[in-house]
Symmetry: none
Subunit: 310 residues, 2 copies
Amino acid sequence: MTTDALLVAESDDEWPDLVIDLLGQRMSVVRINTSEKTPSDMDCSSVKILVGGPSNLVPWISVCPQLQWIQSTWAGVDALAGHIPAGVVVTPLKNVFGQSMSEFVLGWLLALERRVLDRAQASVWDDTPELGVFGKTMGILGTGSIGSAVAKSAQHFGIRCRGLNSDGRPVDGFEACFKAGDHRFFDDLDFVVSVLPKTTHTENAIDQEALNRLSPGSIVINIGRGNAIDDDALLTALRNGAVGAAVLDVFREEPLPKSHLYWQQENVYITSHTSAPTLERFVAQAMATNLERFIAGQDLLGTFDASKGY
Amino acid sequence: MTTDALLVAESDDEWPDLVIDLLGQRMSVVRINTSEKTPSDMDCSSVKILVGGPSNLVPWISVCPQLQWIQSTWAGVDALAGHIPAGVVVTPLKNVFGQSMSEFVLGWLLALERRVLDRAQASVWDDTPELGVFGKTMGILGTGSIGSAVAKSAQHFGIRCRGLNSDGRPVDGFEACFKAGDHRFFDDLDFVVSVLPKTTHTENAIDQEALNRLSPGSIVINIGRGNAIDDDALLTALRNGAVGAAVLDVFREEPLPKSHLYWQQENVYITSHTSAPTLERFVAQAMATNLERFIAGQDLLGTFDASKGY
């Protein structure tokens, strides 16, 4: 029996069951667990579709000469850089993280602005009121599906949103958009949220000059990739009060090394890359539309563009 | 310079600063303090907008021949009765607690469900994911403007909402409404939020039977009045796990006495009646939408109808 689709999973992954439910009626599907099999154990000569986490997929790509489609089970596919053969399309798992990312961003913002962290430890009555978030301004680096979802949630609470993207094009849901590198984007922001992927263009997008332009005591949240922040500049800004708090989910090195100064810095909250959990149940759902298109020989939707890096 | 908007304030009022922030970019705004100036001291010939407390505004209305809009800083505008010229609209301050209450409820819920409280104190990498709030069910006791605002915010995050009100009437934004006293309202709720006022009918609305019907580990939030909760029953439910956490903003006695068991009970968060801060700061945000409509020449929203009295 030939194998049309190969699911490269961790042994405790649950997404393959749902993907097998979806694909198994249309083609032959094989699940392998990375701990049990290597590419030399398998005949992959007929595999057209690979599904899995980007770094797990890398060793399998070169043994699949018929490969046409890589479905990533993650939004970020930078681990595949340099490994994508010509003619193979990659579809990152996207449009499914908005809910989780929005919960994370608004949860942390409201917790900080409404003093949830302080009040959780209250031992005496303290009826000092909080000002809340209405009318404050958020700048979102990245105006794709995740950035737009975060903007929509922020606006629900009366937060004004501006966006930063590669060319400054206007995007629905953002009052204004700025081109990457235009530091005016950062002027007087109360909140900065990066959802940027890791590319050469996003390196240190939040640098010292950016941080100096923020409203004093601003909150910086990074749920994209660690390379978007100049860590030294952020630590300085936290120490001098230009930034009041930073919620950091992603880092240049993960897990964040124990010796990193972020662990010691007051008002830095480290959330261990949990802003979007692997929403396993979404993998099959995300593939459903493209499966029909794939079988019909149509171009797939939401494909990764290596030249842009997303 | 002509004056477009006149703010009639008490000398210690803080709302004018925020209103000036809002209006000052669009028109000329003057603040006067009632203790310092009278209508005969001012040229009001160009004033189109008056903002202030109803009784303070009365003497100014007749000296503003161009007047079009009176924004009251109070909900009740009965002091203006008989003083409103034909063609002048009055907007009372109303429906303004929803924002603050929604921030509070979603801030606490997301903080608890996304483990903000734990993660804020993390000293090691912990990438255990959280499930989030999508698809969970909230029951809201009280379906008026505050309850409806909370429901809208909850639904934004994919939380399903049911309501409890005096007669079980259906209300927009709630999947189902139950009549007060019908304990089926509480069945399998993940979140319970009370916004009930204090009346004889709301006493112990959340009693032992109600708590026993909740989903195990549920979260109870009270931002209405303290009499809605049977405190002994809640303490029992917290100890036996029927309730996982309680966020209590209001109590039968405030400040909550130091000897009260709530101060000692794990997973009880006491927020000292701060879910909605003082009204003043809402004046500007209440005006924000209507300002755009005013400038665009559109009819204002939420205007006072003298024939109805509200």
